[in-house]
C-alpha cells in the first residue's frame, strides 16, 4: 500500500485547509486537556482510597512545602507521591513514546502492521529481563532488570542492523525480515531459559513483565525515559517532512532531496533506543504503538505534521486510561497492561474504523 504524501489540492483546498487547521488545533487542545484530566484521575484513584483533599494536598505540599495543612498519613503520602504520581507521569511518557515510534516505524517500513516491537528490540529486551528474573541479578554482573532489558535491546538493535544493512544501506524489507527473524530467535532463547528454570512462579512473573506493567514506576526511574523520550519524540516531530516523503516511497523521497539511507538509519537507531528505554521501564506493552497512529490518521489525515503530535497525545491519554483500568478493575490485584490495551483499544478502534473509510485507515504515509 503506498500512501500519499500530501492531500490532493482540491479546488476548494484553501478553505478546506483553513477549516482543517482549526479543527486540528481544537483536537490538540482537547487531547492535551484529556491528558491532564486523565492524569488527575490517575492520581486520584487507586487500590487504596485516598480522599481527594488529601491526595492533592500531598502533591501541593511536595511542590510548595507547607502550602496546605498536613492531614494525611505517611502511608498516604507514600502512595500518592511515590507510587501514583510517578506512575501516572510514566504512563503519559510511555504511551506517547510507543505511539510515536509506531507511527514512525509504519512510515519507515511502509507497512501498516508495523509496531514498536517489529524490529526485534522488545524480544531482545525481554531476553535480558528474563535472564535477570530467572537467574537473578548476579548472573548478569549485577545488572538490574531494566538495565538488562536495555542491554538486550541494544544487542537486538546491533544484530538487526548487521543483518539488515548492505553497504550501510537499510531497506525496509530487510529491516522487517531481520527484525522478525531475530524476534523469533530471542523468543526461543528466553523460552529456553524459562523452560530450564521449570518454575511456574518465574513463568508468571516473566509473563507479567512481557505483557507490560507500569507498577514499578518510581521517581528515580523517571528521568532517563523522560529525557530520552522528550528528546527523541521532539526530534521525530520535527521530521514530518522527510517522513511524509519516505512514506510516499523511496523515489519520491530522493526527488524531494531526502538522504534516504541516512534518514532510515537515523530513524532505526532512534526508534530502537526509544523502544529499548520504554521496554526496560515498563515491559512490552502491546497494541498502543500499532493502533494509536492509525487512530490519529483517521482523525487528522496522513500528514505527519499533524499525525505525530496527535499520535503522541492520543497515546499518552490512552495509556493513562488503560493503566487506571489495569490498577482499579480488579484492585488490589493488577492486570497486565497488554490485556487492557487490547480490551479497551480494539472496540475503540473498530468504532473508529466504522466511522471513517477503511482505505484511509490502512494508508500509512
Amino acid at each position: 500500500m503506498t500512501g500519499t504524501t500530501t492531500r490532493s489540492p482540491a479546488p476548494a483546498g484553501h478553505v478546506l485547509r483553513g477549516r482543517r487547521v482549526s479543527r486540528f488545533v481544537l483536537l490538540v487542545i482537547a487531547l492535551a486537556g484529556a491528558a491532564v484530566a486523565s492524569t488527575w484521575l490517575a492520581v486520584s484513584i487507586g487500590a487504596v482510597p485516598v480522599a481527594l483533599p488529601q491526595a492533592w494536598g500531598i502533591v501541593a505540599d511536595r511542590l510548595v512545602p507547607g502550602a496546605v495543612p498536613r492531614t494525611w498519613t505517611p502511608v498516604q503520602e507514600q502512595i500518592i507521591w511515590e507510587f501514583r504520581l510517578p506512575r501516572a507521569l510514566l504512563a503519559l511518557l510511555v504511551g506517547a513514546g510507543l505511539a510515536v515510534v509506531g507511527a514512525v516505524l509504519q512510515a519507515l517500513v511502509r507497512n501498516p502492521l508495523a509496531d514498536p516491537f517489529l524490529l526485534g528490540v522488545s524480544s531482545g529486551a525481554s531476553f535480558g529481563a528474563v535472564l535477570v528474573l530467572i537467574l537473578g541479578a548476579s548472573a548478569l554482573g549485577g545488572l538490574s532488570l531494566s538495565a538488562a532489558a536495555f542491554a538486550g535491546s541494544l544487542l537486538a538493535l546491533g544484530l538487526v542492523y548487521v543483518l539488515a544493512q548492505r553497504a550501510g544501506r537499510l531497506t525496509p524489507s530487510r529491516l522487517v525480515l531481520a527484525g522478525v527473524a531475530l524476534a523469533y530467535l530471542f523468543q526461543a532463547a528466553y523460552s529456553f531459559v524459562l523452560q530450564l528454570a521449570q518454575s511456574g512462579r518465574a513463568a508468571q512473573q516473566v509473563l507479567f513483565w512481557l505483557m507490560g506493567s507500569l507498577g514499578g514506576a518510581r521517581w528515580h526511574l523517571l528521568p532517563l525515559p523522560a529525557v530520552v523520550l522528550a528528546v527523541g519524540v521532539a526530534y521525530l516531530l520535527t521530521q514530518h517532512r522527510p517522513l511524509n516523503a519516505l512514506a510516499a516511497g523511496e523515489e519520491t523521497a530522493v526527488s524531494l532531496g531526502v538522504n534516504v539511507s541516512r534518514f532510515r538509519l537515523t530513524l532505526f537507531v532512534l526508534t530502537s533506543l526509544l523502544v529499548g528505554v520504554m521496554v526496560a521501564t515498563s515491559g512490552a506493552i502491546a497494541f498502543v504503538g500499532l493502533i494509536v497512529p492509525h487512530a490519529a490518521r483517521l482523525l487528522v489525515g496522513a500528514d505527519h505534521r499533524r499525525v505525530l503530535p496527535v499520535t503522541a497525545l492520543l497515546g499518552a491519554v490512552f495509556l493513562q486510561l488503560v493503566d487506571i483500568a489495569a490498577r482499579t478493575v480488579n484492585a488490589p490485584q493488577e492486570l497486565a497492561l497488554s490485556i487492557v490495551t487490547a480490551l479497551f483499544g480494539v472496540p475503540f478502534f473498530l468504532w473508529l474504523l466504522r466511522r471513517r473509510s477503511v482505505d484511509r485507515a490502512v494508508t500509512v504515509g
Binding site: A47, P74, V75, G136, A137, S138, Q204, G215, Q333
Partner: protein
C-alpha cells in the same frame, strides 16, 4: 505444586475425573491368576474425583515435586520408592537427605521426566503435588496414560485444578496421610503420624490462642506490582493457624500480583517470604532480596522498621508433611513468647 500450577492450568480440567478402567481390568487379571490379594486389599481411595484401586501395596513408587517424597518418607515408606525428582531449592528436612540420596534420580528437575522415560519406569504408583508434570503439551505422560500403564496418580491436597487449590484446607493433608496409609497397607503408621501432626497443630493453637494476631504479608518479591499471597489457599491458612492474620486476606486469590500501594497501606508487622533457589544447583537464597523489595514498598510498616521476616521454603507452601511442620515454625516466628517455656 503452586510453582508448577501456572503451567498446569490448561491441562488440569481434563485430567481429573476419570475412573481408570484399565486399573479395574488389571485387578481382575491378577485375581484370575489366582494370586490372593493381601489382607485388607483391594483398597480404593478417591483423589480429585477419581477412584484409585490397589490390589496390593505399591512397591515401585515414583515421586514428583519434593513434598510428595517428604510425605512418603515421613510415613517410613522410603523403601517403596524407586524413582524421584531432583530437589535443590531449599534445605532437606532433618534425616531425609540420606534417604533421598539412596533413591535413584529419574529427573534433573522438580518435574517428572518426559513421557517415555516416565512410562518406562514401570511405576505402580505416582505421587505428586500438582498437575504440571502430567501435561501432554509439556511432553509429559498424562494421568490417563499412566493409569492405563498401571501407574495410578495421586495428587496431594487434591491440587488438580486452580479451583481445587483454592478449596484446599490444611485438614486435607490428614485425609491424604490416611489414604496413603491405606494404599500402602500401613494404616496404623498413618494414623500415628496424623495424631502426631494434629498434636503439633493443637499445641500451636493452644500457645497462640488469646494472643493478638500478628499482621503478616506473605510475599514472593516484586517492585510493583508485588507477588503476594491473598486470602485463599494454603499460605493464608498457615498464617491464620500460626496466630497471624494475612494483611491481604481480602484478596480472593492465592498467588497473585498486588499493587504497590495496597502493600504500602497494608501495614504488616511481619513478612513471610517464599524461599527457593530458582535454578537447579544454584543455592543462593532468594529471600533476603525479596524481603528488601517488600520492606522498601511497605516502608512505613512495623515489619519494615524491625526488618522482621521469615524465609519459608516454598516446598512448605504445598500440601504435605513439611507444610504442617512449617505451621509450628511460623507460629514460633510470629509469637516467640508463646514458645519461651
Amino acid at each position: 505444586m503452586r510453582r508448577l500450577l501456572v503451567l498446569a492450568t490448561a491441562l488440569t480440567l481434563t485430567a481429573c475425573g476419570q475412573t481408570p478402567a484399565v486399573q479395574e481390568a488389571a485387578r481382575e487379571a491378577v485375581q484370575e491368576n489366582g494370586q490372593a490379594a493381601p489382607a485388607g486389599f483391594p483398597v480404593t481411595v478417591e483423589n480429585c474425583g477419581r477412584e484409585l484401586t490397589f490390589d496390593r501395596p505399591p512397591s515401585k513408587v515414583v515421586t514428583g515435586y519434593h513434598p510428595a517424597l517428604e510425605t512418603l518418607l515421613a510415613l517410613g515408606l522410603g523403601d517403596r520408592i524407586t524413582g524421584r525428582t531432583f530437589f535443590g531449592e531449599s534445605a532437606f528436612l532433618p534425616g531425609q537427605k540420606e534417604q533421598y540420596d539412596k533413591i535413584p534420580q529419574i529427573s534433573e528437575t522438580i518435574m517428572l521426566p518426559q513421557k517415555e522415560v516416565m512410562l518406562s519406569q514401570g511405576a505402580d504408583f505416582v505421587l505428586d503435588n500438582a498437575m504440571a508434570s502430567f501435561d501432554a503439551a509439556g511432553g509429559y505422560a498424562t494421568v490417563e496414560e499412566l493409569d492405563a500403564a498401571g501407574s495410578p496418580v495421586y495428587i496431594l491436597g487434591g491440587w488438580c485444578s486452580p479451583e481445587e487449590v483454592l478449596r484446599f484446607t490444611l485438614d486435607d493433608t490428614f485425609t491424604d496421610l490416611r489414604n496413603l496409609g491405606r494404599i500402602f497397607g500401613v494404616p496404623d503408621r498413618a494414623e500415628k503420624l496424623v495424631t502426631e501432626l494434629q498434636g503439633r497443630l493443637a499445641d500451636v493453637k493452644k500457645r497462640v490462642e488469646g494472643r493478638t494476631p500478628v499482621k503478616v504479608l506473605a510475599t514472593d518479591g516484586g517492585k510493583g506490582p508485588v507477588n503476594a499471597y491473598g486470602g485463599a489457599g494454603v499460605t493464608n491458612q498457615m498464617i491464620t493457624m500460626a496466630g497471624g492474620v494475612n494483611v491481604l486476606a481480602g484478596v480472593k486469590a492465592d498467588y497473585t500480583e498486588v499493587s504497590a500501594e495496597e502493600v504500602s497501606a497494608s501495614q504488616p508487622e511481619a513478612l513471610l517470604v517464599s524461599d527457593y533457589a530458582t535454578l537447579r544447583g544454584e543455592d543462593t537464597p532468594s529471600s533476603p532480596a525479596k524481603a528488601e523489595e517488600a520492606f522498601a514498598i511497605a516502608r512505613n510498616s512495623p515489619a519494615a522498621k524491625d526488618k522482621r521476616y521469615l524465609a519459608l521454603p516454598v516446598a512448605a507452601q504445598h500440601p504435605g508433611y513439611r507444610n504442617l511442620l512449617a505451621v509450628t515454625d511460623l507460629a514460633r516466628f510470629l509469637h516467640p513468647d508463646a514458645f519461651a517455656q
